[in-house]
């Protein structure tokens, strides 16, 4: 039977609305890009302050993602597999960083990692500087971006049939081996997309980081500073450059992720 290809007028209206939304996303970005000359961009790219901040942002967001994934992924597994009292409350707590203002999150974090706090002092003895240091940037980024990894990994683990894990146990595999050879590989697509999401979200974080570490300066703060000190014209090329790099990494990671899964 031939599927009828009659166009429903209502759907045309919906598609038109979709067009408006896309334009809303794309138009400001394109406007910004076209207002930058190639010369400005090249000049900005050669600016050592800009280079340093971009490397710093990429490094801290990636490190925060990897360090915190070690605790977040096993936690996501428990959330997917086990029922326990107040589980809904726990799930709610995980979403808190998404719904609160990030500057407020920064203030809250500052209260427990400042140099005069226990955590601040412990960090100092291990050479980790939170306020105004890499450690603080990573903590701020992780605080606001970790929910994306946990939620995605939890959904990924939940989609793995429990029967497969039981079958592996039945074959004599200890739980640790089952986790690494069955659960994690089968949930890998969701975990990886959670990692990418967390990393991207951390990279673009501004509010929480600026409270804890204005310096060393990550790119979102650099953009803000150039805007405040020199105006729109000087903030624009840095923004375009940073967006370009973010998108480039994002696309590369996505390609790697899909390729690995189809293999």
């Amino acid at each position: 039977m031939q599927i009828q290809k009659r166009i429903e007028p209502l759907h045309l209206i919906f598609a038109a609305l979709g067009g408006v939304v896309l334009l809303f996303f794309v138009a400001p970005l394109l406007n910004m890009i076209f207002k930058c000359s190639a010369g400005q961009l090249i000049e900005t790219a050669q600016d050592s302050e800009v280079q340093r901040s971009i490397w710093l942002t990429l490094f801290t967001s990636m490190a925060a993602t990897l360090v915190f994934s070690v605790v977040a992924i096993p936690f996501a597994y428990i959330l997917a597999r086990k029922n326990f009292p107040f589980k809904q409350l726990v799930n709610g707590i995980i979403d808190i960083p998404i719904v609160i203002p990030h500057s407020a999150a920064g203030i809250a974090l500052l209260g427990i990692i400042a140099p005069d706090t226990i955590i601040g002092r412990i960090g100092e003895t291990f050479g980790i500087k939170f306020v105004g240091g890499y450690g603080g940037i990573m903590v701020a980024m992780a605080f606001v971006s970790l929910p994306f990894l946990i939620n995605s990994a939890r959904d990924g683990f939940a989609a793995v049939p429990e029967r497969l894990e039981k079958a592996a146990l039945n074959l004599g595999a200890p739980p640790m081996r089952v986790f690494f050879t069955i659960s994690t590989p089968l949930a890998w697509r969701a975990i990886l997309s959670g990692l990418i999401l967390m990393w991207a979200r951390g990279m673009s974080e501004f509010g929480a980081v600026i409270i804890i570490a204005y310096h060393p300066m990550i790119t979102p703060i650099l953009i803000y500073e150039r805007f405040g000190a020199f105006g729109l014209k000087y903030a624009r090329p840095v923004s375009v450059l940073f967006i370009g790099i973010c998108l480039l990494f994002f696309v590369i990671m996505r390609v790697i992720a899909t390729r690995k899964n189809s293999a």
Partner: protein, 353 residues
Amino acid sequence: MLKVEQLSKRLGDFIISDVSFDVAEGEYFVLLGASGVGKTVLLETITGILTVDSGSIKLNGRDITHEKIQKRDIGLVYQDQALFPHLSVRQNIAYGLKSRSHNRSEINNKVNALAVEVEVTHLLERKPTTLSGGEAQRVALARALAVQPKCLLLDEPLSSLDLGSRSEMRALLRRINRKKITMIHVTHDYEEAISLAMRIGIMENGKIVQVDTPRQIFQHPKSEFVARFIGIRNFFWGELIKNKHSPDKSAEFVTSGLQLSVLTDEEPGEGNVIIRSEDVTVSTEPYSSSARNVFEGTIVDIATARLGIEIIVDIGVEIAALITQDSVNKLGLGYGKKVFVSFKASAVKFIKA
């Protein structure tokens, strides 16, 4: 070998209560019951996937009721195989071996030997999703056998297979059992049970209501479930001999000096035949009809059955016929009377052992 005592477990709508049975070393034990009576729940408690509410499970005298799944030495083949989709067939079969830290070449040799045994050598590098039901079932079997479990549990291992691969799989299961591997096989298919079981346990409403040899179970049913197959009163062991000149699928079945005509697809060999008592006709004169099996005998018993009257006629073996009270009256049937029993070759069902 495996001893289950007063096992109880409640899981949602499934309840098994007070289940006791034991299985001897090397035995092929079949748990037979309609779907939803808790057979799978019972298997899962034996493997430790589910905890028990009460009761005990002992394996060779060792209490494993609360033992961890991975330390029970009881293999399980799932109804849907539960093969690991991200691993190749080879890696699936090797999975359990790797937990026991064999070296690589030892694992390879074992996997290859198992692949030969279950005839999946040509599939070793494939992914499970590309396998047919029968192939996947063989791989699942090899994977379970790899760790040399003391006892192998099979959950409806034939239900997802087509007819052809079903009889191949039955032959394979028998071959494995002959290597002294104790098997517990769960099914809702009584033919499957008759074909494979040394003993059958009948499950009904979460309880085991009868444990006995196939013959005893079907001739002397103690439950409604078995009684529904009331025709299986006629249950004979013997040998099928193919009639080479036959243009159709007819064959001869020889049992206790009696020779029956049978219509069957099965290959010659030993097995059981069952004839439903409703398919057996009783007459006082021999008459010509399409029924290939006509025997003269003496009535040795007349009893009221759930439906109608059951007449037992001795024709060399005792055969039961289910007829109406009306027929009994009209033919004047009684103890010691000489009668003819007849049934069609197509009413004789051969189940190869």
